[in-house]
């Protein structure tokens, strides 16, 4: 940054400090040799990583969260991509309204949706909490699938598919050999965003917990409430490391900026 813009420059530095520094403090405290969450950390050890990785509630919640995120992402793509195709390529009335409907889960507060599903489906209908979570997460991911794949569909020339049809390909074959490969970056981005959004979710999942199936972020929040030791810092550092790996993969394959065509709504 050039120093010739002192005001903008200092505001920018302040912004980066607020965004990044707390994360660095989490990493630093996770390696502490001491028994409490304090700064500066006392000594160096990996004991809290060992503790986190052998703490049953964290590990089973980690497995649950990965499971949920994976299934919800696949479901959202499997349901969202056909819907996107119909919205962009099909001759249907009221396209705007239908697209709006698919994007609507973005505007209602997640906590409100979580409360609705908890009260109406879990308590009202006796639906198990895994099914309720899966339903809620899939609904929440639909807007990503529709918007991100929609953006790459808008870039794909329909004439290509028509040419394939003209050359004698069946509609399905034309779709799978021409259109789908063109959509691949969009689908990858949507899948990645969906997976992380589901894995990290708190407000929607908050009320949809049970003793048998708990998600990791909510389990960590509960743990912080009852104990102030650095084990959560170690778990947080592990999640950070995993997220960095995913971000690097994303950057190498489709590029960061493209993926966030989807978040920047």
């Amino acid at each position: 940054m050039r120093t010739s813009r002192p005001v903008a420059g200092s505001l920018a530095v302040l912004g980066y400090i607020i965004m990044i520094v707390p994360i660095l403090f989490v990493v630093a405290t996770s390696f502490t040799g001491g028994r409490t969450l304090r700064f500066p950390p006392e000594g160096f050890s990996l004991q809290w990583f060992e503790a986190a990785l052998t703490y049953d509630p964290f590990i089973s919640a980690l497995v649950s969260s990965l499971q949920l995120a994976l299934i919800a992402t696949v479901l959202a793509l499997a349901i969202g991509i056909p819907a996107t195709l119909a919205i962009h390529r099909g001759a249907i009335p009221g396209k705007g309204v239908i697209e709006g409907l698919f994007l609507s889960p973005l505007i209602v507060p997640e906590l409100v949706v979580g409360l609705a599903l908890y009260q109406q489906l879990m308590i009202g209908f006796g639906l198990a909490n895994f099914e309720t979570l899966l339903l809620g997460h899939t609904v929440l991911m639909l807007p990503y699938a529709v918007r991100v794949t929609g953006a790459s569909l808008a870039l794909a020339d329909p004439a290509l598919e028509e040419a394939a049809r003209g050359l004698g390909a069946s509609p399905l074959r034309a779709f799978f050999t021409i259109t789908l490969p063109l959509l691949r970056p969009g689908i990858f981005s949507a899948g990645l965003l969906s997976f992380l959004t589901s894995f990290n979710n708190v407000p929607l999942s908050l009320l949809l917990q049970s003793r048998d199936f708990r998600t990791l972020p909510v389990t960590m929040l509960d743990y912080v409430q009852q104990s102030y030791d650095p084990m959560v810092a170690a778990m947080a550092t592990l999640i950070l490391a995993g997220t960095v790996v995913i971000a690097v993969i994303a950057e190498r394959t489709v590029g960061f900026a493209k993926i966030f065509g989807g978040i920047n709504r």
């Binding site: 990044i20 304090r38 195709l85 505007i107 507060p109 906590l111 009320l207 960061f256 978040i263």
Partner: protein, 273 residues
């Protein structure tokens, strides 16, 4: 595509939206178990005249506005500098601003416990330097919530502003400068007005996120600094007060709809003028 195919492709999605979102939400908001719509609106009226509830609503809206102001004030300069920079570091800094969006809110918010806690970095620094005798209470304050929410939503503000600034032709800056405008004048009369749509989007996203966030007020505000979201959770799972929960959910939803509607109104006006 044949005429019936699009409808078939839409069907699973529409069914999912109805069962997993629209019907439960509407029933919860207006007819939860054992409660009538009249009860909920009665409760809403009571909340809007009760000093304790009003303080929670006021805190939620007030902190939401403060965080929105800070995120735009910090996010726009960052977006502007990054969009105009020719340095190869600009790409790295942009990625650094986007990355937190991928990272769990619990992880990001947890950092403030280490920074602001009684044994945290700021407290230790102040007592270590002998500036204060005992570490000041920073955690469980409105300041902590503001810092936490700013951290969460600043990346969103940066991205929205960035795509707007990047579309403003840098040649316009140069032209204004060439005609004798100062750098400040160029910024306020050229750059800001032309990127206003992006700023409106940024403000809307940040405000809507800030008034509905749960993790931050829960971890950093505690029970002493309740906001609508933490209050909603307590109605739903501690006191099992469905009327209170629905009324609170209505306030949150209306708040978000209101700012979204307002911002699309502003956007439409900007597009026609």
């Amino acid at each position: 595509m044949r005429t019936r195919t699009p409808a078939l492709l839409l069907l699973p999605g529409l069914a999912l939206l109805l069962i997993g979102f629209l019907i439960p939400s509407v029933v919860m908001l207006f007819a939860p178990p054992g409660v009538t719509a009249a009860d909920i609106f009665g409760r809403l009226g009571a909340m809007l005249s009760d000093p304790y509830d009003l303080r929670i609503i006021g805190r939620t809206v007030g902190l939401g506005l403060i965080v929105t102001g800070i995120c735009v004030a910090l996010g726009f300069p960052i977006a502007y500098l990054l969009a105009r920079s020719t340095s190869r570091w600009a790409g790295v800094l942009l990625a650094l601003a986007i990355f937190p969006l991928l990272l769990s809110n619990v992880v990001r918010t947890f950092g403030w416990l280490v920074v602001l806690g009684s044994n945290g970095a700021i407290g230790q620094l102040l007592t270590g330097l002998g500036l204060v005798d005992a570490a000041p209470q920073l955690l469980y304050t409105e300041l902590a919530i503001v810092l936490g929410l700013t951290q969460l939503f600043l990346p969103l503000a940066i991205i929205s502003c960035y795509s707007a600034v990047a579309q403003v032709d840098a040649g316009l800056d140069d032209a204004a400068r060439g005609l004798g405008a100062s750098r400040g004048r160029t910024f306020w009369t050229i750059v800001i007005p032309l990127s206003l749509p992006g700023i409106v989007v940024a403000a809307t996203l940040v405000f809507a996120g800030a008034v509905t966030a749960y993790t931050t007020p829960y971890l950093l505000g505690g029970s002493s600094q309740r906001m609508l979201s933490t209050q909603l959770f307590s109605y739903a799972s501690v006191t099992i007060d469905w009327a209170g929960a629905s009324a609170t959910a209505l306030i949150m939803t209306v708040l978000v709809f209101l700012v979204s509607g307002l911002s699309s109104l502003v956007a439409r006006k900007g597009a026609t003028s």
